[in-house]
Structure formats: C-alpha cells, structure tokens
Amino acid sequence: MEEPSRPFEPLIERSVRTLAIIGGVTLLCLMLLTVYAVIMRYVFDAPLLWALDYARVGLVIVTFMGLAYCGWTGGHIAVDFIGGFAPPIVLRISDTIIRLTCAVLIALMAWQGLEQGLDALEMGEGTNEVEIPLFPFFLVVAIGCAAYAIVLIAQALRAARGADLNDPA
C-alpha cells in the first residue's frame, strides 16, 4: 500500500535547510571579519575590539541555526548498541520514546533560552565592548532549539510508523 503523503516533512526539510544556510552565510561573514581584524591589527595597528563582540554573537547563529539540520540529516552522534539485534518492534517503540524524550529536553532548552532572553531584554544586557543587545541572540537559541524539537517530534512519528528515522521518504 502506498504511504500517505506527509506535507509537513518537505516543509521541515526546506525550513531546516534554510536555517542552516543562514548559519553558513553567517560563518562566511565571521571568516571575513576575522581576516579584517587581523589585517587592521597588523597593517594599520588598529585592533578592532568590536570584532570580538560581533564574532561572539555571530557564533550563536552559526551554531544554533544548524542544530535542526544536523538532526534532520542524522548528524548528531549516537551509539548503536541495539540496532543489530533488537527486534523491529522493540526498536520502533524505543526510538519513538527516545525521540520524544529528546524533544522534551530540547523544547525545555528553547523555553529557558527564551526566558533568559526576556530577562536580558528587561535588564538591557549587551556584549562587553559595543553593547550589542543579547536578547535577539537568546531568541536565536530558542528558535534553533524549537526547530530541532520539531524535527525530533517528526522523527518520533516516523519511528512510530516503522520508517527510517533519517529518511523522510
């Protein structure tokens, strides 16, 4: 029997890929920023203190925008002790429960990231040198984690129906 189509999976695929590309472009900017800072320091004897601040907050985007993509493509390291011998039904149940547990933890991270971001907004927290507001970057953590939690739920649903965790087809 043909599998019913799941329109949300291509949507997840496109979304996590877009987030990852945003992270990738930010990384290219960080690379250029690092080179610019080195040139300014050595050639013009003008160290860029603000570059450090921008590099720090930029890294948040690089790291968290790719979290869901890494999960979606099966990148996060796991140890497969039971895959070789456990009956399919056991794997189906355990994978479903494990993915849902992961989703709960990552959703907690998203929630707490948002909470701390709101605190940072209220307190007006910023970076050390040029006081870039921290709130948007806590928001990036929350968005990245929320996207990964959605991926984990989608994978739990896949596991529940006995499909390959990392193969949306």
């Binding site: 590309i21 690089v62 790719g66 390291i77 547990t101 806590f138």
Partner: protein, 435 residues
C-alpha cells in the same frame, strides 16, 4: 541516598539511554539535568538549560571549530588533496609500496588543513584508491592505509579532537595544537615504516609505479606549494604567536577560499554544499559540548571523580599502572564506542584523575587522541573503516580490517613511545609557551 549513589544511578541511566540510540549530547544533557535537579535544585537545573547553550554558543574560543571545519571542506573543494597526492606520488610512487607511502604522506599533509579524520579519509580515499587499484595494489594494503592515514586528521593540527578536549578540560587550544605536531609526524613515519616492512615481506602487496623524470617531480611539488604556504601561515602563525588559533582558522579558511576561487572551483551549488557540511559538523560538536557541560556539574556534585582519584592515588597502585589501566580501558571502549562520544563521556571523570596523578593534561590530550584514532579503525564500529568501505564497496570488511592491523600496531608503538618520552608531545608547546 548519597550523592555518589545518585551518580552511579545517573551513569547507569546514561548508558541505558546511549544503548537506546539517544544522541550522545542529549543523553548527557538529560542525565545532567535530572541529576543536578535531584542533588541541587530544579530552578537551578532549568536555568542551566537556558544558560549553557548560550554560553558555549557565544564563546570566542569555540569559533575555531566552524572555521577550521570550513577550511577543511574548502580544501577538499579546491582540489588540494589531488595536488598533495600527485606531489607525494611523484616522489614515492616508483618505490615498492610507493603509492601507499604517497597516500600516507598526502593524508598527513591534508590533516594539516583538516581537523576531521572522516573528511581526510573520504577526500584522500577518492583520490588514492583508484590509483592503487590501477597499479594492482593488494586491496588490504590499499584500504588499510587510507583508513589509517585518514586518522591523522585529528592528530595533526588543526584537530576538532583537540578543540573538544581543550574546551572540556579548560586547557589551551594553542598548546594542544602544537603538542600534536611531533606525534603526528612520528605516527606518519611509523605508518610509512609499517608499509615498508609489509612490502619488504610481501612485494606483491604494493608493486612499484613508473619513475617520473626529476623535472616532473618538481613540477608536481610546486603544484602543492599553495597548500604548503597555507599550512605554514596557519600552523606556523600559531607557533610564532602571530595568530590565536581562531585567527589562524579564519585566515586559513579565507586563503583556502581564495585558492578555490583561483582554480574556478567555486560554484553556488558547491558553496552551498560546503556551508551545509560545515554547519552540520559544527552543530554536532556543539551539541556534544553543551551536553557535556550540563553533565559535568552533576558528576562533580556526585563526588565520583574525587573518590575515584583518592582511591587510585592512595598508594595501592603505581601511577604507571593507573595510566596503563586507563589507556587499555580506552582502547577496549574504542572498539565499540564512537571516539568523540568516548571523549566527552569519560573526561569528566578521567581528567581530574590524570591531574591528581601528576600527569601533564596536554600530554594526556595527545595520548587520548591517539587512542581515539585507534578506535576510529577498530572493529566493529570504526567509522573510518566504513568510510573506506563506502569508497571500495567490493572489498569485504574483513579484508579492510586485516589491512588495518599493521597500522593499528604502529599506533600502539606510537602510544608506547609517547608514554616513555612525553617530550615528544610537550617539546613544541613548552618551547613556545614555556612549561
């Protein structure tokens, strides 16, 4: 219930979650969160869940990871691996086992721009394997030398293994990078010696290729010179103190990108692929780092590391015995546990123990990475073996493992030399930064 009992339950829970295929970073975070909540307080554990990801996601020192990963991926894109192999082939190819020697030399060179063993094995495997097959090399030697040569990626700086070790143990990334240079060259030489001995015993394993005229050899060498310049600027820059590791990574990635542009290898599709691969590897490393940092405070509260350290340092065992036990345990664990997983899972307990025993943590970082490399090519879950299998799908796994065995022994010899002469690792960082 005592904190140590809670800790033991936590460790058991961790291994159950891992056995049930939970990603390592999340398993550590789950156990760390629940354990910290039980031993400390739930509001504190929740706050930690919000804070730790941001703290590590915005740590300046950690920018080195994505930048070096980017540099490695760009190096593959620019065709550097082919240049390196051609240069090594031009000089070694006409020797017995020369193509295998060239593969190891090229792997060693590629390791100096790539921090990942898997990336090194894939990149060099695609270049070197068809050549070795063309000249009738024994599949055991051909696949074994690629799988083993690839592992140099995490020993010769830049190395993601060293960065993760440094972050988890608060050691200097620059010191660890420099500490990896001489052991990396030693291991390269031992791999080559292993090929020499194998082909001496059985010349059929690696017949010699044609000898190139001297002019062609220098031409091949000059083709690889761009890469040598980049390596000298990045690693040399760290050594002379011109760059921090992060700056070296940024400059190295930029120069590699320029080279890729110069060679007209940069297309929209290729850059998208490079970015996605880089972001994927970065996220993988960060999730593990965040998980380990949520797990570590819990383990510290359980007092397990202190109890273990005081038990093992009370005089009933010699330092060397404890070290030997640790290394053997790692080698055994490495046969079924993924390398990075092993690193992050054990360091919260083993690092305090090593420090209590009076061993240099930088030196231990290098020995750990070599043990981790052994795990990368050990059955049943040696990742590099499966990478090579993916390139040479007609060679049975058993043949690949047989081919790896001499290289695995070479790693054991390297490890023994490093234990006997710690200065092999410590000489460069001590001359640069002082002891």
């Amino acid at each position: 219930m005592t904190p140590t009992e809670v800790g033991i339950i936590g460790l058991v829970a961790l291994f159950v979650l891992l056995a049930l295929r939970m990603p390592v970073g999340i398993a550590m975070a789950v156990v760390g969160t629940v354990g910290f909540g039980v031993l400390n307080s739930w509001p504190a554990t929740l706050a930690q869940l919000g804070r730790e990801p941001f703290v590590f996601g915005s740590s300046y020192e950690l920018i080195v990871i994505p930048l070096f990963v980017l540099m490695g991926n760009l190096a593959s894109l620019s065709g550097m691996s082919r240049d390196l192999y051609n240069a090594a082939y031009a000089w070694f190819g006409h020797w017995r086992g020369g193509l295998a020697l060239a593969t190891i030399a090229a792997c060693s060179g590629f390791a100096a721009v790539s921090g990942s063993s898997v990336a090194s094995a894939i990149t060099m495997g695609r270049v070197a394997l068809p050549e070795m097959r063309r000249y009738g090399y024994d599949p055991k030697l051909a696949t074994g030398c690629i799988a083993a040569g690839g592992t140099l990626g995490i020993l010769i700086p830049p190395s993601t293994g060293f960065v993760i070790y440094a972050i988890l143990t608060e050691e200097s990334i620059g010191r660890l990078f420099l500490a990896g240079v001489l052991p990396g060259l030693l291991l390269t030489s031992l791999f080559m010696l292993s090929i020499y001995i194998q082909t001496r015993i059985n010349p059929e394993l690696g017949p010699p290729g044609p000898k190139l005229p001297l002019l062609d050899r220098f031409r091949a060498l000059s083709q690889a010179s761009a890469m040598v310049v980049i390596i000298v600027i990045t690693i040399g820059g760290i050594y002379v103190g011109a760059f921090s590791p992060t700056e070296a990574a940024g400059v190295g990635a930029f120069l590699t990108l320029l080279l890729a542009f110069w060679r007209r290898r940069v297309t929209g599709e290729a850059m998208t692929s490079v970015m996605l691969q880089t972001i994927r590897t970065t996220s993988l490393a960060f999730l593990i780092i965040v998980g380990a940092h949520i797990f570590s405070p819990f383990i510290a509260l359980t007092e397990i590391p202190e109890n273990l350290a005081s038990h093992l340092t009370d005089g009933s065992f010699s330092r060397l015995t404890v070290l030997f036990l640790i290394l053997v345990t790692y080698i055994v664990l490495g046969t079924f546990l993924e390398g990075f997983a092993m690193l992050v899972l054990t360091l919260p307990i083993v690092h305090p123990l090593i420090v209590a025993l009076g061993y240099d943590p930088i030196w231990f970082g290098v020995t750990m990475v070599i043990v981790l490399e052994m795990g990368l090519i050990s059955p049943p879950v040696g990742i590099n073996v499966f990478v090579v299998k993916g390139i040479a799908d007609d060679v049975p796994l058993s043949q690949i493992f047989l081919g790896i065995l001499p290289f695995w022994i070479a790693m054991g010899v390297c490890l023994a030399l490093l234990v006997a002469f710690p200065n092999i690792a410590l000489f460069l960082p001590n001359t640069m930064f002082g002891s």
